[in-house]
């Protein structure tokens, strides 16, 4: 049996990448091999120029991500003078970018899986899994934000920055508002974006992750810039 499947996979691998073959459908139905597996086997078969395929498929989204990040950076660049006087925020910026980006990735992949498993078909607002996912990420985000801000403030203090109670409070507030707002935005974007792509018979995984990580980066810098202008 194993040998039989291996022989089919070898046949599939030798096919031209662009050519659709009924063998994919047959292997998927008969042997319950996922379409993703079959896709990978065919995608990087001997008829494929591996680097060209990867570059062609990745370059556009990569350039788009660079442009979106730069637009977010533009907001910070425009308040550079204020930003540079707030050492804890300089320490916090990459930390928040990383953190919020990974929450976007978690939302995207988990919601995509829920959609594939049919858990969100009719019970969108009553879905227990969805509610738990949101609350789990929100709680994690609040905890990591508090830990990250505390560590940033400690490092800034040790480096000789002047910190009074009002400043510490404002920095905690800005960090928490930024994280909570973005977790909410990312959740709704992942949910409704996921539903949209799923209804179009596309795999939401392929679209949601670049979208949410870009929104996370862009949104973090825009919200941070706005909050710094407002509070400082």
């Amino acid at each position: 049996m194993r040998h039989h499947i291996r022989r089919h996979l070898e046949r599939l691998r030798k096919m031209e990448r662009r050519r659709y073959h009924h063998l994919i459908h047959k292997l998927h139905k008969k042997h319950h091999i996922s379409r993703k597996t079959l896709f990978y086997v065919k995608e990087y078969g001997p008829h494929t120029n591996v680097p060209r395929t990867i570059i062609r498929e990745s370059v556009k989204i990569l350039l788009l991500a660079s442009i979106v990040s730069s637009v977010g950076g533009f907001a910070l660049e425009s308040i550079k003078n204020t930003f540079l006087t707030l050492t804890p925020f300089i320490i916090l910026l990459p930390l928040l970018n990383n953190m919020i980006g990974s929450y976007g990735t978690i939302f995207s992949s988990k919601i995509s899986t829920m959609l594939h498993e049919g858990k969100l078909k009719y019970t969108l607002m009553r879905s227990r899994d969805l509610r738990e996912l949101f609350l789990t990420i929100l709680l994690t985000a609040v905890i990591t934000s508090i830990v990250g801000t505390s560590l940033s403030l400690s490092i800034a203090f040790l480096a000789g920055s002047f910190l009074d109670h009002a400043l510490i409070l404002k920095i905690f507030l800005v960090s928490l508002v930024d994280v909570v707002l973005l977790v909410g935005i990312l959740f709704f974007v992942s949910l409704f974006g996921g539903l949209y792509f799923y209804k179009k018979n596309e795999d939401p995984n392929n679209f949601l992750i670049p979208i949410t990580t870009s929104i996370a980066d862009f949104g973090n810098m825009m919200i941070l810039a706005f909050l710094i202008i407002y509070f400082f």
């Binding site: 660079s66 990459p94 738990e132 990250g148």
Partner: protein
């Protein structure tokens, strides 16, 4: 599942690990603020530059992991065509993205701030080449290492790349500043 179940613990642990990488970068940025952040347009390209490592090496790790799990890439005798193709593509993408960031920074400086500063093009380019030379090799070795040890690289490589990528990016930016 429950709020404090397996998912919560896994997410919190991996976030705490990547938090350390972010903290390291932030501290280096604060220490070298006069050298790094005072460069015109630096804040514009920095987030994209830091994110690039995740985008490129993250996808590389994910493709390699899929190949390893599907047995398309053999752990003891990896297909040279697929592996070298992946490495070559990742490196090329890194150069393109770094160059794009440099050009965006230059355009912003010239048209918005009225500053003619062509070095901003070479800064992310040189730093991108250095950082990716380190990160791509590291990602490749780590993916194979974790897989050989019986771990699922998909669960580990995310925080691993974020943390090591942040460190290699910021150090390579400092090296690039010294070179330029």
């Amino acid at each position: 599942m429950g709020f404090f179940g397996k998912n919560f613990k896994e997410i919190l642990t991996s976030e705490m690990v990547s938090l350390l990488g972010g903290l390291f970068v932030g501290t280096v940025l604060a220490v070298y603020a006069d050298k790094l952040l005072l460069i015109p347009g630096m804040l514009l390209l920095l987030p994209g530059f830091l994110e690039m490592r995740g985008n490129i090496s993250g996808s590389l790790a994910s493709r390699l992991s899929s190949g390893l799990f599907l047995d398309v890439i053999k752990i003891n005798r990896p297909s040279r065509r697929i592996v070298s193709g992946n490495l070559l593509a990742s490196f090329f993408l890194a150069i393109v993205a770094s160059l794009a960031l440099g050009v965006i920074g230059f355009i912003f400086n010239y048209f918005v701030s009225g500053i003619f500063y062509p070095r901003i093009i070479f800064l992310p380019l040189i730093a991108g080449i250095i950082a990716n030379a380190v990160e791509i090799v590291l990602t490749f070795s780590a993916t194979f290492y974790f897989f050989r040890k019986g771990y699922d690289p998909n669960n580990i490589m995310g925080p691993f790349i974020t943390t090591t990528g942040d460190i290699s990016s910021i150090l390579s930016l400092l090296i690039a500043i010294v070179i330029i």
